[in-house]
Symmetry: D2
Subunit: 358 residues, 4 copies
């Protein structure tokens, strides 16, 4: 069938895991997208979703519970829009196969994020990077495409820094993260490792933060991204929090703002214009708190239905220019919700036109 | 009586609080010190210790349980060595009164830490700073004295940085702390604030870190401390951990070491020579871990009976020279145990001579 | 003014505490009640609500933030409907003063719960007990009245047992509670007491459970409650959970049901008819789970916007007849939300008629 | 070699898991036992212990770190005394093979616990049950043997009830457990399942409690155990606690004691005489607390180096006779330490005589 009007059938790959479940929760009753297919590993394929997944949070929609889990191939999964929660170990080949088969893949995996012709997008921050899709299709001969969202800790940072970068040009960032256990999926972090504890290491997280940030804050021009000229030093930690990654940052700028100037910019920021009013777009996208002890993950991760980023403690720094704390929901804003907002932006800007259900 | 030989009577001020209780635990069966008096606020004075304090951890020694809580005055409390766990709100006057009355006060409060003639000491790091006591007595006309130990988060940092500073000269430090709830005393942090949460703020903590570090790593010469020329940017956080403050640091040096050179220095470090062999001195004082995910507070805070500092993740930094993580027990190493080690060093170096029990 | 139509002005006493804040959250945009006044202790009176309270959860409505906190007297607080989150230490006199002044007081305190002429009500369970108000007014000469809701742990039990009691007549109950920290208010339980711990004691909780249950499950007839003939043995524990009290029960009945019969009754239960469709009434009121590991407080406390009770593990018992586990949100269902539902039932059944704003 | 004198070589099967690691910690510097071999699954066999296991707690002894992990067969593992931390899935065949090969197996698995000729022993409670070994050897033609310790939650209960059973004859027990995550091994319980949560279910735990207790409190006479005539109703829960299982009990007796009589018995109890003075025997074995809020797992699990059971809240019950709370360390008292104490008792009573290293 050819798609018309304003509703698209969508599928979720990796649907049984923690991020896959978040996709299902967020797509329930979505005004534009109908979740029609779920797919996962061979172990789950052929079972009903209800029996294949241990449902972790909230209520499993009945319509999804009854779906039969498919294999992650474009032959079995026919929807034109593919939300991928696949692990990077398998995402590379699978996501490419779907893009080649004419589908639009919204990916949470790291595999393609840094490819020159793959958009790495937080809609409010760099929604214009989606134009890379044209280059990607030309380069790869794909009728579909792959759009990625960033690592969940990097997403917190980019959302908070984008307004400041646009106004004052960020040059250096020290970042220490305190990340929730849900970032490691399910079963993920063993309780014996994290109860009453801090683990000062998350495998491969610091390099992701250091590389993805410069692309997210980079500039799209004539078919290519010019990376932002920012050097980042990251310290990644796991803490006993369910949802919400908190990041303490010290930031240097080309044009040094006072804390008051920075706050004015943060408060006035509205982000990439086309995003406003999208079904999953939080309003506001950035919440600035005055209290000295905010943001806090347990109290603020749910703001804007999990899509808002909360920023606080904007103050002077002794070594660089500003210190601040930012936090957002790692599973919603930093994963499934971010992908859905990317898809909504593609839909609104006409970039889903021509996709067909197989 | 005049003190002779190797045992000293000691008292604890603020004995009912969390740090006071740690003093009592650590002084139980101490080879040099006999805890003979406990004192606290008026609310507790006159009661038996058993009935005045809600004992939090381990076993309350019977000999202490039976003591009557005294008021915090040098008239009532007669021991020549005074361990003070008083809050800064009252410590100023009380500690001075004891010093004036000829007692040696080992203080955990911030009041006198930055005074030019008051030693701020972590024995392995800057045990020689105790020589300031001579200046202090001359300046103030005291027959006793006040020796302070540092804020508990600063203690972690100074213990880890001291070897590197001696070898390579630290110039800049970014530090993000993840601090245990016991650092806030009892009842301290409300469980509704910290369960599954991070609080990105601890009142007055960042300034303490930024100022105390330069004194701890400073140099004693001819009656004065030359402050270390280090600029620090601190981000203090509370996390749901019982004991153990973890600090992520990025460090710049005058002489840039490789991670390997830094590790060699850290591994070879033994600290101020006179400290070795003291009853409370851990051996080693610094534990260097190779695993990528250490130190961890729940698993490492107890090392060296709570007195060792564990360091890990020594690696290159993109902005400064090195990144590393350090952690120690905030109540033992960072408070009561640090005071006791200070007193042991005073005892060993003859600086308790002449003190008399009233 | 005389009240007409379907909107009532309401006030919250004890508005700055944890339960008071829950009232404010739940009354925000309430279809029938307008929160027009907040009152608290002398310490807060005269301040703006924003400055008087440390807001704990969600977003403080702007309209409430701007209110000036009043003293808890019927002279200052004029609304006809009074939600009281006062501590039992002060609730006795204050609530009586308001009832005497013609107001309808919905109380969370224990003071009047067991008085023979005071309704102790969970609407679905024993909404007909509200008829006691007529007796109360006659007895006491009040133009207003006091309606209480039960202790939060008892509320869980009564909600789960009511259908079984109506069908099979409960005679004995063993109950072990695992209660959330929010049940102790704010600051309430110290984090040093509860992180990674269980406290097998909650002051005065077991007697409340043992006495209140027999009134809740009792029978209203001709102006009096006949207590249910149930003996309860309670074991109350505090666990490191934010919200949601979990109760394990073994139950004996006059007419012994099989687990299947019990499940059929539980699943078919709809409760006191007049409650259905009220703005705060959950639908369903009881959620029965088949999975062996439910209910769980973190995952189920929010069901029915915090007003539903979740029951699971209904199975045979070796000593009595049935074992089961029940759980509900202690601050919503077990406190503020319960009071609001009581008020809604009073409104619907015409029992607020005649109340006037002063 | 034939064993002489007072030192025995011992091995640990399942050495890489959480209980296996506890064996290694507790056997370090043991006065009677030398840990000479570690064995685990094929996946680990052939590796050094250091590389095969992720060490969870405390310090891995260097002497063990260097051992090569063996396969769990009596050909490879030659020690005469075998501490088994094997899962029940494999323990059945493996433990029998070792017993047949002449080794004394101290087992933590459930497989043989309820066999009529297999001792299920908590030394202080029923050390005399070890005499079943004679029957076992005769029945099975084994030169070695199997001695089991009980499920960790049952161990708490039996240790607390034994004195009361001996004095007053327990007939009925309601028990609700709140069990630590370490009871599920490593990685065990996912942090997403238990942070800020209670899971009211532990697979297979309630039947173990209900059956093992009657054997532990049974009577050995002429080659057989007469089961205690006790009916138990168990409710098992997982709580976010690291170590220490807490059990709330209501208990009925043939001879009804007052709480005071019960306390007198509990305080005066010393247990099976031969146990006293054994290297791992705590003194006292039972700790009775007067405070209303004890025992608490985080504060009391380590008492008696993890081997003591703490009992509190002994009070009257409305349905049965007494209520009380008991708690002990599930990994030490309830698993590895219990096995070691069993072995020590066998050694002291001459029941290891004749065992030879292969």
């Amino acid at each position: 069938m050819t798609l018309t009007a304003t509703r698209w059938p969508v599928a979720v790959l990796g649907a049984t895991g923690a991020v896959g479940q978040a996709f299902i929760r967020l797509l329930d009753a979505h005004p534009w997208f109908d979740l029609v297919e779920v797919a996962a590993s061979e172990r789950s394929a052929g079972k009903s979703y209800r029996s294949a997944a241990k449902w972790l949070e909230g209520t499993l929609p009945e319509s999804v519970a009854a779906l039969t889990v498919k294999n992650c191939t474009p032959d079995e999964v026919t929807a034109p829009i593919i939300f991928s929660a696949l692990d990077s170990g398998v995402a590379g080949d699978v996501e490419a196969a779907f893009a080649r088969a004419g589908r639009m893949v919204l990916s949470n995996a790291k595999n393609y994020r840094m490819d020159a012709d793959v958009p790495l997008v937080i809609p409010e921050v760099n929604g214009d990077h989606l134009e890379l899709l044209t280059v990607q299709r030309a380069n790869r001969g794909w009728s579909g495409g792959i759009v990625t969202n960033a690592n969940c800790a990097t997403t917190v940072m980019a959302a908070a820094l984008a307004p400041l970068h646009q106004a004052f040009t960020v040059t250096k960032v020290f970042a220490t993260t305190m990340q929730a256990v849900s970032g490691a999926g399910y079963p993920g972090v063993a309780s014996l490792d994290i109860l009453g504890n801090v683990i000062p290491f998350i495998g491969d997280e610091e390099p992701k933060i250091e590389t993805e940030l410069v692309k997210l804050l980079g500039t799209y021009r004539q078919g290519a991204i010019t990376m932002a000229d920012i050097v980042t030093s990251a310290h990644a930690n796991r803490v006993p929090v369910e949802h919400g990654h908190t990041v303490c940052m010290s930031v240097a700028f080309a044009t040094k703002p006072t804390p008051e100037q920075a706050l004015e910019v943060l408060r006035g920021w509205t982000g990439y214009e086309a995003v406003r009013g999208l079904p999953s777009a939080p309003e506001p996208s950035l919440i600035i708190r005055d209290e000295p002890d905010r943001p806090q993950p347990r109290r603020d991760a749910g703001r804007g239905r999990g899509m808002a980023t909360t920023v606080g403690r904007v103050r002077a720094d002794h070594l660089f220019d500003l210190r601040l704390v930012a936090m957002s929901h790692n599973v919603v804003r930093g994963a499934a919700g971010g992908s859905i907002l990317n898809a909504e932006l593609l839909a609104k800007t006409g970039q889903l036109a021509g996709l067909a259900r197989q």
